[in-house]
Symmetry: C2
Subunit: 142 residues, 2 copies
């Protein structure tokens, strides 16, 4: 596992660079991370790395299937390793907390979309907005 990421890149005609290795490691170690957060992490090791390199690297890594991203909230997308278990992001519009839940809960939903619309859902990319348990409870008290 630790050695085939570079094969994946090479197989797609990309070169192996320290920057790419660092970004990939940062994605793996941070779990969920915005480009900005990845930059900070990468710069702990290599302070000269530029933000635009992060973006370009993520594009490459995503293209070869080593990472994916999901759109949470308004601002920044978050990237995570493809190795991670498929999960869905639940974004609370009240308190902005993001929780994850196993993608299994979407099984029926995904099947319905396939049957009714011929749509193949990328489960990991889904982000669901609404109100988290905590905020729902808090609201009941008022």
């Amino acid at each position: 596992m630790a050695r085939d990421w570079n094969d994946v890149l090479r197989d797609h005609g990309f070169r192996i660079t320290p920057q790419r290795q660092l970004v990939l490691e940062a994605v793996n170690s941070l779990g969920h991370a915005t480009p900005e957060a990845l930059l900070t992490e990468v710069q702990k090791t290599a302070s000269a790395v530029n933000l635009s390199t992060i973006y370009r690297t993520l594009e490459v890594l995503e293209q070869v299937g080593l990472v994916t991203h999901a759109h949470i909230g308004h601002g920044a997308p978050t990237y995570h390793s493809v190795d991670d278990e498929a999960h869905i992001h639940l974004v609370c519009d009240t308190c902005s907390v993001v929780t994850s839940i196993h993608a299994d809960v979407a099984e029926v939903f995904v099947r319905l979309l396939r049957e009714k619309a011929g749509f193949e859902t990328d489960v990991a990319h889904v982000s669901v907005h609404g109100q988290c348990a905590t905020c729902v409870d808090r609201q009941k008290l008022l």
Copy 2:
């Protein structure tokens, strides 16, 4: 119906202005629209209206519950009338086409999220990424 939008605003302590009326009308007539698109629409009637007014107005209209927005793709959010039937956006990551499907298909999904995570889903806000029927078919041919 045509007359109570201003009551809604007033009840929340907001004032009635031509700009707010025009933005609301634009949201209703365009169905799905980005702030930029709304500006263009509004300017057909009142060319002096400014983009920042559009943003501020949308914020107010959303706050009082007359419109909502959804995050489709990377770029701009799209706003629509709350009167619209609840629907889910299916975003094709291959061809970028956005289709809508009635929110009923998410019923089981929403129930599961409520039961398993206590999460109350805002169905209309969900945008689902994946591959549309057309692109799925096209890929099979290759």
